[in-house]
């Protein structure tokens, strides 16, 4: 690339602040996570005993960790599949030439501003076993009195629904933006060829939307694995039993409540592997999409 401003030192000065923050607070600590995952650390952090891969072996033999893993995959899978399907449907509708469509759009995207902790607090109110409106509606419809404070699978379902609800706004924003990038001429052409609206969506819009869908798949996966601590902490604290003890919550408890630093670091590294897989997928996909664009 040609230089617009011949200056040998300035670019380094400009990059330095970002680079310093990245190195000091992100890259070096991440490397330390790798290092610590190979040790057993005494509760006060003053004695390190080398354990090799023991922490990892222990981790995958620990029923509590395997439980946490399975429940996190259900949680994230639900957010991705159900959340993205609903959001796409809503975005397609809000992309139609309807009267008042701007109002619809705004009314769909605002949950983006809510925090996981806010979502958790509100859903705890909705499903309160003795006063919640959802408890009430379910009782009216089925005669059952739901108590998620004693029913672990129900608790998992409820935190999952709450987390999915919170992400709808974000997903709709990006799907709407993606839909507006779909060339109108292509849809017109498909229409001329006699394709019905369902065929037009499935054969034209959906394939062209795949970069957006994939981007949202990545963002929702990261959200499901990493950003839901607040929701769990205000709603269930991992309970009842260990039913909502998702990976990030277990990591926090092992690292900051039980002070098992090495063990917690090993869990960090497993999470890193998930991110690495997602990143590789993203790069491969980003390379491919150039093909049909």
């Amino acid at each position: 690339m040609e230089s617009r401003f011949p200056n040998k030192i300035l670019p380094y000065l400009l990059v330095m602040p970002s680079l310093l923050v990245v190195l000091v607070f992100l890259i070096v600590p991440s490397i330390q996570s790798f290092y610590l995952s190979l040790f057993r650390v005494s509760p006060f952090g003053n004695v390190l005993i080398f354990k090799g891969l023991q922490n990892f072996i222990h981790l995958f033999q620990d029923p509590a960790y395997l439980n946490s893993l399975i429940r996190s995959f259900f949680f994230t899978g639900f957010i991705v599949v159900v959340g993205l399907s609903i959001s796409l449907g809503l975005a397609v509708l809000a992309n139609l030439p309807l009267a008042g469509v701007d109002i619809y759009r705004t009314a769909l995207i605002w949950p983006f501003a809510l925090s996981p902790a806010v979502a958790g607090t509100i859903w705890a109110l909705l499903v309160d076993p003795s006063t919640g409106p959802i408890t009430y509606f379910v009782q009216l419809a089925t005669g059952l009195r739901l108590n998620w404070m004693t029913n672990g699978d129900l608790a998992l379902l409820i935190v999952t629904v709450a987390a999915t609800w919170k992400m709808l706004g974000y997903n709709v924003i990006f799907f709407l933006a993606g839909l507006q990038n779909v060339p109108k001429e292509l849809l017109e052409a498909a229409h001329m060829d006699g394709a019905g609206s369902f065929r037009r969506f499935w054969n034209v819009t959906f394939p062209l939307l795949s970069p957006t869908t994939f981007f949202l798949f990545i963002m929702n996966s990261l959200y499901g694995f990493f950003e839901v601590f607040g929701l769990i902490d205000v709603m269930t604290k991992g309970g009842p039993g260990k039913a909502t003890d998702l990976l990030v919550y277990k990591l926090y408890e092992d690292g900051f409540v039980n002070f098992r630093t090495g063990y917690a670091s090993a869990q960090s590294i497993v999470l890193f592997v998930f991110v690495a897989i997602l990143t590789i997928l993203q790069f491969r996909f980003a390379g491919k999409k150039v093909f049909y664009r």
């Binding site: 690339m1 230089s3 617009r4 401003f5 300035l10 670019p11 380094y12 990059v15 602040p17 970002s18 680079l19 923050v21 990245v22 000091v24 607070f25 992100l26 070096v28 600590p29 991440s30 330390q32 996570s33 509708l93 139609l96 030439p97 309807l98 619809y104 705004t106 009314a107 769909l108 995207i109 501003a113 809510l114 925090s115 902790a117 806010v118 607090t121 509100i122 109110l125 909705l126 003795s130 006063t131 009430y136 609800w165 924003i173 990006f174 933006a177 229409h191 609206s197 957006t212 981007f215 607040g230 205000v234 990030v248 990591l251 926090y252 690292g255 960090s268 999470l271 890193f272 991110v275």
Partner: protein, 276 residues
């Protein structure tokens, strides 16, 4: 593309119903925040607007010192958004206007790699580092570790690449140095992108929970998200939902207002470019 009248009616109905369902949780939270304790504790639940709005908000405000918590959240969200915008603006400028200086690709990758390192991956060492710096329970711990932004750097870089090179050449002819060009020409042109970035980063920072939880421990340094936990604490038997919801509404209001004001810039300056 034309749609038939039936399709249009169907779309309207589906959208309205969906919007009502999505809004119901917040609607009910709002209603609850106006109830008396008795009303909020009744079954079947009450769906009318109560008369205890001010009282509940005052109680919540005083119980967990919400004024201070909201102040802290505002301070760190504005500081981090501003910090991220400034740092990523400078980095993106370096990456687009100074040719292939030595180490450029490495630096770029290092900044992008932050996307791969969410807090849980490095939480123990980052915590220990901040402790070693003597930053525990300070605003430094709540802001500085967040200052770098891969998203911002990418966004500004992409935008700068679309700015015609003639502008930089003309500026140089007129004797303007690079920094003057950045402030006088590029910054005003980047306004939409900056607002979009401000919106995302403000909401992102306002909604942080885990990091503020572990690096602060006195009530005067807590943020409003932790305030929700404080309001809920010890409420296992009969939650005072009316008071808790008053606090919850206050905790969600600032980012919601920012979203409503800036959503246009966000869609134009960010979402439309994201997957290109």
């Amino acid at each position: 593309m034309q749609i038939t009248r039936t399709q249009s009616v169907l779309a309207h109905v589906t959208l309205i119903v969906s919007i009502l369902v999505i809004a119901f949780p917040v609607f009910f939270a709002l209603i609850t925040s106006t109830h008396s304790f008795q009303e909020s504790f009744s079954f079947p639940p009450k769906f009318h607007v109560g008369s205890h709005l001010l009282e509940n908000y005052r109680t919540a405000w005083e119980r967990v010192n919400l004024g201070r918590l909201l102040f802290n959240s505002t301070l760190i969200s504005v500081a981090v958004s501003a910090g991220k915008i400034l740092l990523s603006l400078l980095a993106a400028f370096a990456f687009t206007y100074f040719g292939d200086f030595r180490g450029k690709t490495t630096f770029f990758i290092l900044i992008l790699i932050t996307h791969m390192l969410p807090l849980p991956i490095r939480i123990v060492p980052t915590f220990e580092l901040v402790e070693d710096f003597g930053w525990m329970n300070t605003y430094y711990a709540l802001t500085i570790p967040f200052f770098a932004s891969a998203t911002g750097t990418l966004l500004f870089r992409q935008f700068f690449l679309t700015v015609p090179n003639d502008l930089a050449d003309a500026a140089r002819m007129d004797g303007a140095g690079p920094m003057k060009f950045l402030w006088k020409i590029l910054v005003p042109l980047s306004k939409t992108n900056m607002l979009a970035l401000f919106m995302i980063e403000f909401i992102y920072m306002w909604n942080q929970y885990l990091w503020p939880l572990i690096v602060t421990h006195t009530d005067d340094m807590r943020v409003v998200q932790i305030g929700l936990k404080m309001l809920l604490a010890g409420e296992e038997q009969a939650a005072e939902w009316n008071v808790i919801m008053a606090g919850t509404i206050l905790a969600m209001l600032p980012p919601l207002i920012i979203l409503l004001i800036l959503q246009g810039s966000f869609v134009k300056g960010f979402a439309m470019r994201q997957e290109k």
